[in-house]
Symmetry: C2
Subunit: 247 residues, 2 copies
């Protein structure tokens, strides 16, 4: 697995991921509750933003959270311990070579991970090896090409396109949300059911204006500013970059 995580490992990014998780938790997996005693693998836990919700929602489940970044695993562990949650064990590990036997888990949870991988289908195939027969998987991914707004803004679309292209240069896919159904089917998962969730914000929802529009989405785009400028400097020579003059 590549370590080219498009959002980087800046501490401010840690705060953003927590804001994102808090704002989106109702939308994304407020309904995720695992039965008593079930064995859950959270693949790509990052700094533990979603781990907290998983552990709180399913106190009787045994959650194993892994991430390729040692530093992120440490941050996630600290957070979970500080919250007094005791049903999570952490482990550093590469999704493509996890040290678990076949049939180790009843359920796998993957959130905002596939978008960063060069080979998301292979990741899904590998994960399936650790799932018991009849086990299930939840995959949550974004789709940055689905954003629209009023009034419209060419500058905003250009900025978003920069993120999409940067992620693509790093081997990822910021438009993977729309592709989940064929991806899961081609990786051999049965009974695939996609449930799209839209974040809608207007000024009657000040907590979402702040928590989502400003601190999650805009912050995400702002967070890649320097990387985009550097990538554009390189790409200018090959003339392959989008026009960032309006940024």
């Amino acid at each position: 697995m590549t370590k080219a995580y498009v959002h980087g490992y800046d501490p401010r990014e840690n705060v953003r991921l927590q804001d994102q998780a808090t704002t989106l938790v109702e939308l994304l997996h407020s309904d995720t509750v695992y039965p008593m005693g079930s064995r859950i693998l959270e693949a790509g836990c990052g700094v533990g933003a979603q781990t907290m919700t998983l552990a709180r929602n399913s106190p009787g489940a045994l959650i194993t959270s892994v991430d390729i970044s040692e530093q992120s695993v440490a941050a996630a562990k600290q957070k979970v311990v500080a919250a007094g949650l005791e049903n999570v064990q952490f482990q550093q590990g590469d999704i493509f070579r996890l040290p678990f036997r076949a049939d180790s888990f009843d359920h796998i949870f993957v959130c905002f991970v596939l978008e960063h991988l060069k080979e998301p289908r292979t990741a899904l195939l590998k994960l399936k090896e650790h799932l018991r027969p009849g086990g299930t998987i939840t995959v949550i991914e974004g789709d940055h090409g689905s954003a629209y707004f009023y009034p419209d803004s060419d500058a905003a679309h250009t900025a978003i396109r920069c993120l999409v292209e940067l992620q693509s240069l790093a081997g990822g896919n910021a438009l993977i949300g729309r592709q989940l159904y064929p991806l899961l089917v081609s990786a051999g998962y049965g009974k695939v059911r996609v449930s799209p969730r839209m974040v809608y914000v207007d000024s009657s929802k000040p907590e979402l204006v702040d928590g989502f529009t400003k601190k999650t989405f805009t912050a995400m785009i702002e967070g890649i500013r320097q990387s985009v400028i550097e990538a554009a400097t390189v790409a200018a020579r090959t003339n392959s970059w989008v026009d960032i003059s309006t940024l």
Copy 2:
């Protein structure tokens, strides 16, 4: 009100609107039930595609359905009578000059209408005059700029952009969905709550592939083919039209 209805009055369009209403009814207003005895105005009923659902869902409500097109009103009436529904009265009328007193209605229902008007805010202001104090309004509109798909298709985006521009040339706004909140607020409606609904289709939902993707959305775009070609011929002289060479 202009009679420049972008989708035209072709009989096939009548069939498309019925397919659209049938496929979307669950999503759009399966939860719309009006109390016994309440007086409902359906403004812009067209050929009655939504009228049927309104009348069925609320057998005790008194529904008044108006449309500017005499021909559409006749088609709507025929449909409702054939279904044995007796709680609807029809009337030809212009939304901007309806022959009703103030306080005539408890609730107003508007579906896929504002997008065709040059002055949607004025329409909302005029409609409000017929609403009793404390009355409510439901406005349902589309947003054709919100469509995305996998695999992506430049030709499809161009075709959709043609509809958006055609509607704009006719004085309407195919992107009005995202604007409903500020529109309703600026027309003086209080406690505005927007509830966005997304139509998601993949191959596990053959009834939506057929009923929505093919018979509603694609049919809508196909339905304006001739109008776009004619408008492009005119616009070619002023160089103001999008490139339709990929169509």
